[in-house]
Symmetry: C2
């Protein structure tokens, strides 16, 4: 807590008096009590964003999927496992928030059925039926008093095209797009972001995630204030 | 290394001059560059077994799926990700080993196809075709000079029946069966094991995994020596 307070003093309080909700990490979608579908998100970028927002003076709530990270100082953490739990926790807590940063790699699909007992293996293959998980961003986008919304897009191709498509289709104010490649994006400490908004963009070059997070939080604060005072 | 040497001195060298191969952790079976099928294994039991075998004087090789644990002192670790990689690494290294402890929670199924690019989500569901992964235990069981083989069975029902079935069908010398329940089996520091062999069993009651591992390594050493000198 003392370290958090000291770190906050080192940064200009761009977000003093503001409330920020951040989601981070992967989700797990269980087939049975043991097996699940997940993804390579380590939660590092979302945790760095929560830390950077707290440093900038915000009241920060972090909704986190299963990761092995400690919550940053001064940040209130809520732990969830599935996309449904992530969605429910987010909808409950987003009300009244100034800024929402959706950094979690929420599973898009989950098994239609979850077996109560461990599925015994047979000699043959298996067909797994998957259904879409709830679209939290879409639901938040429909709120009467919606927050400043920042999304993430991790792409293996067409970075800016896919990023702009998601910015528009989800009604976001800003999106941070990044490449998934060998040694980039997931499970690494460095990354680079292409930050897009309506009518503009900026490249945040390869840097440690905490440094990138500080850059992105500063951009978010500027655009939020501009929109807030418009 | 010094700590490992000290720990080894605290234990009787049941396995001095013996070579032990241990597998640990889950595997990941990728659908695309981001999404995978996995399971709740933390690797703690396998790492504890590798540590206990090294303490007992064995030369230990640990083949590990993706976990966040440090390798125990004095243990040679090989890191893998998929069931196929786990199988290949195991078959390469098992030759000439005295004892093989298969503690990894190797995926039984993997997607039949792995997409080169991230699968874009649609509005509808998705059908995922899965195929069986290679059966490493079965392949090792067919080796002319096979090691003393110890398997694990994590079950949600019929613990001893399912355990004995696997003991026989895989040609194992011993199997350690454990319940998967809330707060038991995976991702926890304590566990209990029902250890089965042909014509016998012993219950190792709830204890920290390192203590259980020492108990199981002692049992393995006794049965291995009995078989070796028979």
């Amino acid at each position: 807590e003392l370290i958090g307070a000291a770190a906050r003093l080192l940064t200009e309080p761009y977000l003093a008096g503001r409330s920020v909700l951040v989601t981070a990490g992967p989700t797990r979608e269980y087939l049975d009590p043991v097996r699940f579908l997940s993804n390579r998100s380590s939660g590092k970028m979302g945790y760095a964003l929560a830390a950077a927002a707290a440093e900038a003076g915000a009241e920060v709530t972090l909704i986190s999927g299963p990761v092995t990270l400690e919550p940053p100082p001064g940040v209130q953490r809520v732990q969830v496992e599935s996309a449904q739990q992530m969605c429910d926790a987010t909808l409950t807590r987003v009300v009244g928030m100034d800024i929402f940063v959706a950094c979690a790699a929420v599973a898009d699909y989950r098994p239609t059925r979850q077996a109560a007992q461990k599925i015994k293996k047979g000699s043959q293959g298996l067909t797994l039926e998957l259904e879409r998980t709830p679209d939290t961003l879409e639901q938040i986008g429909k709120l009467a008093d919606k927050p400043f919304m920042v999304g993430f897009a991790a792409e293996t191709e067409h970075l800016e095209i896919n990023g702009r498509h998601k910015l528009n289709s989800k009604g976001l104010d800003m999106i941070a797009a990044n490449w998934i490649k060998q040694g980039r994006g997931f499970e690494v400490d460095d990354n680079a972001l292409t930050v897009l908004w309506h009518g503009g963009k900026v490249e945040l070059p390869m840097a440690p995630k905490i440094q990138l997070a500080r850059g992105l939080i500063k951009l978010i604060a500027e655009h939020h204030h501009a929109k807030d005072s418009a």
